[in-house]
Symmetry: C2
């Protein structure tokens, strides 16, 4: 249950959150598992290597003659996680007569370009990029839009035939994604507008990059989720870092804290202490991400409004170190031991899962998201953003160095004025909203801000406890999806309504 | 002076034409030659290899405080050729206070990723793709827009500073290109709209690909340039292929034709005959491309309206083989020996220049343009399009196989409805107009058709003999460039005029 990527680096993995849902909403969705062969390298002709990417598909609701494809742009994890946890797509599929497709991101799950050697070194791992993943999705969708699935014998072969089996136009595609998947969804529409008609990009921090957002915004938003729940709780967390430092100066203190917090491995040196603090910091971030109004299952089961629960024992802020750390443990207990079944607290960061390692690598190449805290505007320790230090870590770990501006150059950064048909939805409770698009850019690139929502709650299945803002946002998505699909069928190639003259002959 | 890429394959190289202009309009343009280091592979992190791309730059007219960058997207040849032959950019630069930049396409000129080994094998040559080239241009422009030129000490360092040296916004960029360069210009705007504000894509056959345009369109347009000049001339060319076949059936006939046509190397076997016919076919195509109204220099000097000149001796169509072939030779003489200085006619195709080899390779990977003729709707021999044969040729020559739909998948094919700010200009005399965008797509993706223009005449320097359509088109370009730049300064990030609400807070 480690979700700390690297103490020295402190990239926050989206994955920590996504893994969390795996056991939660096994919503009983029915799908077929299929595979599609794609090139390892879409952008050179130096080699012929290919691999099989996994995707899940359901055509139960699909209207053969003109149904759209709803496509989930898989992010950093096994695709089943996203399939199970994007109930919104399942809920609206019938209304649209949509085929549902969930594609697994290369280098995650079982979609390994070089099998078990995929993570061996930079020459096998170097094709783990967002652009290569998007190109995989283009290949798969080109196939599905024109030919249907290769594995299905009578169902959806030959996308968009009319009732007499005549081929009409290829199916329109709407792309969905949350978190990194939301970034991919937005970028998909930006880079391949002829393949996808529109994108629902939920909690997509596409501006959490160098020069676009102050590095302290992320922890500021995280903090406000706590301080707005309880000012005292915020003060307690704020003071806890120094308290941990003080108590662990002595071996006795280390022993006391190890016992008190029931650590599986007692603290033995300073790096263990750093590790413990980083673990706690990540708990606060993760809880803020999944601060949902109903009980959910995040590594261990969580109550609804988990921050409120965590803050309950931490509401009486005290300067006394032992009392303070006792209350903090009680709060954290909500997170890691809600059921009371955990025998000890494991904060080790040594055994990264492959998915975590994958995101860690992406953070070391393209996904360079500067994060910092100062302990003044936030409840965390002072932590500066040190690009060089990160770069050195990346070089030592993966043999690569991050490129700070590659995302901006590739996808346009803050200049989205030429983009179209994207909804950016963000919840203000979500730390990642700090890097999201919170203001509408143009007529068809819209921002939706949900005051009471955490991380991409709008993409999850409906729940009676959903806040009004999330319910409204889902309707908003639906309306736009309708418009995009209608536009697709209305204007096959040219847009007469948007053109003053059809032809100039000089 | 060989411009036949491969007898078996018959890809028509744009290069044949571009090389032609080299000596023609050494317009006396002044520029500095610079170099910029870019990665060999922009799309993986498998290696650190870099190379220096060449570019030419002129800031004579540049308005430091808010001047745009006019950027030529270099195509398949040394960049000086395009710099010298895109007089239009030079002519309008002063009005716009524009910096002029001409970037050399990787693997052409001196911009060799692996120096003299660049063409050695598929692992060195495999990075010759349009997407990698565009990514080079993005890197260079990102640098120039934000930091100015590294080599200039007092001129344009720090693009767009105000008069007090304060940095304002980065310079807006307008991209220009003709032929394959025009395709790159359009694709540049499509893929990187945050980097370039608009594109002037002249004679850009972005639809000359599989499934977008009938394969016989190219030769049909070529033919009409001849038949509309003189029906008899068209009949003569049409009959010449069979006449060549007939006469060369015997060794005496081969000798006769070799002497009559003054071949440097006498015809000795059937492949020589095939070669000769292909050479002639290419002459007809090339002449159609540069069928300009004023004298120009195409390998050898050409008169104005060269097709008219070529057709003069071919106007009396006859069935008599010897007379017919004599008249054809006199016509072709206009093309290869206008000055009367050529001692013999060299039709060999064995010594490809590097530039020709580069385009040949690109035709074997991304740039798969199906061409065919049938001798009925055109004046050429019956030639079917055989993808497999081409693919085999490519595999034997370069160890790669073409991907027929890669351009469509990457750049959107005929679906340009989400694109913006592109002018597609085409001349109806130009064979490549067959694959061009001849109808306006939307408000800001406009097609301009010039009845009397050959291959990207509008991008060349003004000439008193320019047809009215070309003069009008240049004005049209200029107006749109003005609009695009004004829009850039008006809307830094969002587009309030194009947005109904600035923010949704649910």
């Amino acid at each position: 249950m480690s979700f700390v990527t690297a103490v020295a680096v402190r990239y926050l993995p989206f994955l920590a959150m996504t893994v969390a849902f795996h056991c939660l909403t096994a919503g009983g969705y029915v799908y077929k598992t299929e595979y599609f062969t794609v090139p390892v390298d879409h952008f050179s002709f130096t080699k012929n290597d290919t691999f099989r990417m996994k995707y899940l598909i359901n055509d139960m609701y699909w209207a053969r003659e003109n149904g759209p494809i709803f496509f989930y742009a898989g992010n950093e994890g096994a695709i089943e996680i996203f399939c199970e946890n994007t109930g919104y797509m399942w809920e609206i599929a019938e209304d649209f007569g949509a085929m549902l497709v969930f594609a697994e991101h290369r280098y995650y799950g079982v979609s390994m370009p070089y099998g078990s050697r995929s993570y061996d070194n930079r020459s096998t791992l170097g094709y783990l990029t967002s652009e290569q993943a998007l190109a995989d999705y283009v290949d798969l969708l080109t196939y599905l839009r024109h030919n249907g699935s290769h594995a299905n014998v009578g169902g959806y072969d030959g996308a968009n035939e009319d009732l007499n089996g005549r081929r009409t136009r290829p199916s329109p595609v709407i792309v969905f994604g949350g978190s990194y998947g939301g970034m991919l969804a937005a970028w998909f529409r930006i880079k391949y507008p002829a393949v996808v008609e529109g994108a629902i990009a939920s909690s997509a921090p596409i501006w959490q990059f160098t020069g676009m957002t102050p590095c302290n915004a992320f922890y500021r938003v995280t903090s406000s989720a706590y301080t707005s729940t309880s000012a005292e709780c915020g003060l307690t967390i704020s003071a806890s870092w120094k308290a941990i430092d003080n108590i662990t100066k002595s071996n006795e203190g280390k022993s006391w804290l190890s016992r008190k917090w029931k650590l599986c491995t007692p603290l033995s040196d300073d790096s263990d202490v750093v590790n413990l603090k980083f673990w706690a910091q990540n708990v606060y971030v993760n809880l803020a991400m999944v601060n949902y109004p109903y009980p959910a299952n995040f590594l261990a089961p969580l109550p609804g409004h988990p921050i409120k629960e965590l803050c309950k024992p931490m509401k009486n802020h005290t300067e006394d170190t032992l009392t303070l750390l006792d209350s903090v443990f009680k709060g954290l207990n909500v997170y890691f031991n809600y059921t009371g079944k955990s025998e000890c607290l494991d904060v080790s960061s040594t055994s990264l899962t492959l998915g975590e390692k994958g995101w860690n690598y992406q953070s070391c190449t393209e996904m360079v998201m500067p994060l910092c805290s100062n302990g003044i505007n936030d409840i965390f320790e002072n932590l500066t953003w040190d690009f060089q230090k990160n770069s050195d870590y990346c070089f030592n770990t993966f043999g690569v160095r991050p490129v700070a501006d590659i995302v901006e150059k590739t996808y346009g950064g803050k200049n989205l004025i030429a983009a179209s048909n994207i909804i950016f939805s963000n919840g203000l409770l979500d730390p990642w909203s700090s890097g999201g698009v919170l203001q509408t850019i143009s007529k068809t690139v819209r921002a939706v801000v949900m005051a009471e929502s955490a991380h991409h709650l709008d993409l999850r299945a409906s729940n009676v406890l959903d806040p009004e803002s999330v319910i409204k946002t889902r309707k908003f998505h639906k309306n736009w999806i309708k418009k995009w699909i209608a536009h697709y069928w209305k204007y096959p190639v040219r847009d007469p309504d948007n053109s003053t003259t059809s032809k100039f002959l000089f």
